[in-house]
Each structure stands twice: as C-alpha cells, then as structure tokens.
C-alpha cells in the first residue's frame, strides 16, 4: 500500500511537471507580448530591459523553460503585479477557502445524491422515479451562477436573511482559527454558496447511483439475499448499495475536476475569496504570475483529490488490488 502511494505521488509530480510545462507554453507561446506574463506593465522601458537582461527573457525559449522549472522547484512562483507580493503568499489563504467550500458542498451533494439514487432505483416505474430523474437532470442543467444569483435575489436581497457575498462581514475579527471557520458569521456566509454548489453537484451522483443500482438489481447475490429472507432495506443499502456505490465513486473522482472548474463561477458570484475567483480577477487584471500559479494549484488539487478518491475506492472494493 505504501509503495502504491509513493508511486502515485511520483506520478503526480511528473504530472505536475507536465501541467507546468503546458502552462508555460500557454502563457508564452500564445499571441500577445511574450514577456507580459513576467513584466509588470508599470515598469519603465529601462527597467523592463534591465529585467529582461537579468532574467534572460530574451533568451531562447528552452533556456527560459529551464529557468521556469528551476524557480518552480525552489518555490518561486513569481510576483504578483497587482498585489506586489509573491504569488504564493497571495494565494495561500485562498486555497483553504476554496477547499472548504468545495468539500462541504461535495459531501452534502454526494450524501443526498447517493441516498436519493438508491431510493429512486428501488421505486422503479413510479411517479417518484420520474420526478427524481427530472429533478436530477434539471439540477444539472441550471448553471451554477444562475442559481446562485436566484438564491441571492431571494435570500439576500428580498428576504434579507443571508449575506449576499464575501466570506465574512467586513470588520469582523475572529478570535481563534476555530472561530474563523466555525463562527455563525462564517457559516451564514458559507450557506448560500454551499447550497448553490451542492444543488448542482447533486445531480450526477443521483443519476449515476440510480443507474448502477439498476444494474446491481439483476445480480445473483441480490436474488440470494432475498432468498435468505433479509429485509428489503438491508438488501437495498448493504448489498445493492455498497456495490452500486463503487462506480459512483469512480465517476465522482472524475467529476471532481469538473466541479473545481465550475466552482470558479460560484466563487465569483458570491465574492468568495478562493482560488477560482482569484483566477478570474487576476486574468482580468492581467496579473499573469498569479493567474499562472492559481492555475497550477488547481491542477494540483485535482490530482490530489483523484489520488484520495482512488485510495477510498480500493478500501471499498476488496477485489481491487492496488498495483
């Protein structure tokens, strides 16, 4: 098991290296000023040229590439044009904010989705099934930023129950780290974006779980479970459910990448200070070092979550031997 994790981490590093290369290419080779991603437009022409000389920006592309990789390995992710601080510093907190929002919405979405999918499959052909499928498909169709706006319109502006943006009320000082994330103020701010994201994510596990449960229904061991006189609930959850869950987890791992991307718009709508929102803002500001770094971090998070999902899957399915 340990060997497997080590090997996967090595694969991840290679993957990161490749993604970093793709990012390098994207930012350098696309039309537009190739030095724009490094030079602050506020610099004067002389300073620009000095910097170009010093950092070898006029050198051939493969030399630049090596420099790029070297600085990445040393933890130098560039300096934000906008914030005038190292990109790493700028993005540090934001990673956690994104993770909290994403994990909480995923957990709720998958919890409801899996249970809902199980129930839908058991109630084959009934109105509940039709209703459930339609609901699931609708949830997947309504774009997150739109439902976000609707929720803001209703709960923030119309009813005034919840704040419409941000992560905390300005001026609020948290006493401890615990209070930072578990205060009522924080939770009130978290509620709407989390609901928005959960609603969207919910559709996929709901429908996939229903599909896989239907496939599991016909299995011989389900028939034998009935012959053993087990209750329908037990069969549905412990026997069919446990087996049907496996493909949902696999699909979920793939879905994580999509979810992360989609979260960009949720963070944007709710002004949630996370990685996704920062990508949009930095792209708008042409603050390329930050945009580049944020992009890399997102990719890293996707890979990490895939690894976690794989480990979780192998725990659930005893047939899978991690090679």
């Amino acid at each position: 098991m340990r060997k497997y994790i080590v090997r996967r981490l090595v694969q991840m590093i290679i993957g990161l290296f490749l993604v970093a290369s793709v990012t390098f290419l994207m930012f350098r080779l696309l039309p537009g000023d190739p030095t724009a991603s490094l030079l602050d437009p506020a610099f004067t022409v002389e300073i620009r040229e000095t910097i170009i000389e010093r950092f070898g920006l006029n050198e051939p592309i493969h030399v630049q590439y090596i420099h790029y990789l070297q600085s990445l390995v040393q933890g130098d992710f560039g300096r934000s044009f906008y914030y005038r601080r190292p990109s790493l510093e700028v993005l540090g907190d934001k990673i956690w904010n994104t993770l909290i929002l994403m994990l909480s919405s995923m957990i709720i979405a998958y919890g409801i989705g899996v249970i809902g999918g199980m129930i839908l499959s058991w109630k084959r052909g009934s109105k509940i099934e039709w209703g459930g499928i339609t609901l699931g498909l609708f949830l997947r169709s309504a774009p997150m930023f739109w439902t976000g706006m609707l929720l803001i319109m209703l709960f923030a502006f119309n009813l005034g129950w919840l704040p419409h943006s941000g992560m905390r009320t300005p001026g609020y000082e948290a006493a401890t780290t615990f209070a930072k994330f578990f205060s009522v103020d924080f939770l009130r701010h978290l509620l709407l974006p989390m609901i928005t994201a959960s609603l969207y994510f919910l559709g996929t596990p709901l429908l996939i779980m229903r599909n896989t449960m239907l496939e599991t229904h016909g299995e011989d061991y389900i028939e034998l479970s009935r012959a053993k006189g087990l209750s329908e609930w037990r069969i549905m959850i412990l026997h069919a459910g446990r087996n049907a869950l496996l493909p949902v987890i696999t699909a979920g791992a793939l879905f994580l990448g999509q979810a992360l991307g989609g979260q960009v718009v949720v963070e944007y709508v709710f002004g949630w200070p996370g990685l996704g929102r920062e990508i949009v803002l930095s792209a708008q500001r042409h603050d390329y070092p930050v945009a580049q770094t944020a992009f890399l971090f997102l990719a890293f998070m996707v890979m990490l979550m895939n690894l976690v999902a794989d480990l979780f899957y192998s725990y659930l399915d005893p047939r899978v031997k991690l090679k």
Partner: protein, 302 residues
C-alpha cells in the same frame, strides 16, 4: 455463428439498423426523450429564425413613449422580458442568444467527438506504446479544469467565439477518448475483427469499417453529453466576462446583470437567460439519457 456476425461486418446497413431502429423505438415509448427532442428542435428553430422573431434589435437602446430611455423596465407587452439598464429588450437578446448557444454547443461537441473518438480508436486498436502515450496525455488533460483553462486562454488570446469553441474542444475530448478507447478494446477482441485481421485487411480499414460502426452509438451518446458541457462552459466563460463581446450569448446577458448590480431588482433580466440555458440543457440531457438506455441495455425497462 457466421450467420449472426455477418450484419455487423456489412457496416453501412448494419449500423443504421443497429442504431436508428432501437433509437426510434425508444423515442416512441420514452416520453422524456420525446420532450427532449421537441425542446432541441424548438430551440433550433428559434435560432434559425431569431432575427425575424425578435421584436427589436437586441442592441438598440429603446425609448419609452415619453422619450426617456427605457431603463430597467419590468415585463410588459412591448417588452415581454423587460429591459436592461441601457434600455435594451431582454426578450430579443434571449432569442438572439440562442444562436451562440447552439453554435458553440454543436460545433464544440462535434469537434470533441471527432478528436476524442479518433484518438480512442487509435489508442484502443494499436495498444502498446501508442496507447500508453495517448492515455498519459489524456491523464494530464484530466488534471486541467475546463473553465479556468478556457478563461485563461481567453485572457491571453482574442476572446472570439471561435476561440471559445477551440478552447473548449481542446480539453473536453479527453473524456470521449477514454470512454471510446475502452469500448474499442472490447470490440477488438470480437471474432470478426480478428477474422478481418487474418484476412489481411489494412489497419485503417479495420478501424474505420469494422470497429467504428460498433462504437458509433457510444460516440453519439458522448457527443450529446458534450453539447451539455460546451453550452455550460461557454455560458460560464461569458458570465465572468471573457466571452466574445461582439456576440450576444445568454452567459453574456447574465454577465451584464451581475456587473451592473441590477440583480437587486431586475428579476426579469436574470431569470429568462438562465432559464433558457437550463431548458436547452434539459432537452439535451433527456435525449442523451434515452440514448444511454439504447447503448446500455441493462438500463432498459423490463
């Protein structure tokens, strides 16, 4: 044995029979599929006839009877969906926006399917290092989240609608490739493929005359889903302001509402464009879901 495998080697008539018939059969029975197709057809008609259906030019800043700019007017007979903060007719905008959605949706889905299916066939058929190389590439692509990628691409190049389509296509083929590849792996094991190999058929012929027709249903299914992703991606990218400013798209309309802070009051400006996206996607998903039952018989009703 030979009798049963013949229809599949005669690819042209074979796949038409194996694809169209069950599909039509399903559409007749499955109410959701019918609704889905109706929705898609309606939207297509709207897109084609949009300029004639729209009561006003979507960019015109219109005036009320008293001559003032028709800012943020709630829905009325003149403006069924009200007006924007600059007096533009939301209804016309939504109608015209259909074109961008369908264009991006179908084109991107088409490219995605074209690229992904071919790569899937090549990887699955040749195996070995070709397969490893291509799948490694797919794995890397999987780590890159779609919407941030397109956003950054649009920030670096000119944000035109075609670049949006390319940006989406460049990444999304990864899913299709993987799914098609595993299907190709199993189809390659079938007797008639092995027979064709032994008979000396060229690789190209085997891949495209024997294997391809059998994975076509799956490819079309993936294409249906890809339409959904493409439309969502384009809307999201336009919403955060990186869409083509010269093209009216639903995402772009919502971008303007949000930017101007009009969501506090102008519900008529917010609801229709989003609803249009949701409806179109529902149509696509309903249809795709039924296609899924055709492709995977275990999901069918007994």
């Amino acid at each position: 044995m030979a009798v049963t495998t013949m229809p599949q080697t005669k690819s042209k008539s074979g796949f038409r029979r194996s694809l169209l018939e069950p599909f039509l059969d399903f559409v007749r029975r499955d109410r959701l599929a019918l609704i889905g197709i109706l929705i898609i057809v309606s939207f297509t008609l709207i897109a084609v006839f949009a300029p004639f259906l729209a009561p006003h030019d979507p960019r015109d800043m219109l005036r009320r009877e008293d001559g003032t700019l028709a800012r943020l007017d709630p829905p009325s007979l003149r403006h069924p969906f009200g007006t924007t903060n600059l007096g533009r007719d939301v209804f016309s905008q939504v109608l015209i926006g259909t074109r961008a959605a369908l264009l991006v949706g179908f084109l991107a889905a088409f490219f995605v399917t074209l690229i992904g299916t071919n790569i899937g066939i090549i990887a699955g058929y040749y195996g070995g290092w070709v397969d490893s190389l291509l799948m490694r590439l797919v794995d890397i692509l999987y780590a890159i989240p779609l919407i941030p990628f397109v956003i950054i691409m649009m920030a670096l190049v000119e944000p035109s609608i075609w670049n949006v389509i390319w940006g989406i296509s460049l990444l999304t083929w990864r899913t299709v490739a993987r799914i098609i590849r595993s299907q190709v792996l199993s189809v390659s094991q079938r007797p008639y493929v092995k027979a064709a190999r032994m008979a000396g058929c060229s690789d190209f012929r085997i891949m495209y005359y024997h294997i391809a027709p059998n994975i076509l249903p799956l490819a079309l299914l993936e294409m249906a889903f890809a339409v959904g992703w493409a439309i969502t991606a384009e809307a999201s990218v336009s919403f955060v302001g990186f869409g083509d400013p010269t093209v009216i798209s639903w995402g772009q309309i919502l971008h303007m509402v949000f930017l101007t802070g009009a969501i506090r009051t102008a519900w008529w400006w917010v609801i229709p464009p989003g609803l249009a996206i949701a409806l179109l996607l529902i149509g696509v998903f309903f249809t795709a879901r039924s296609l899924e039952e055709v492709v995977n018989p275990r999901l069918r009703r007994r």
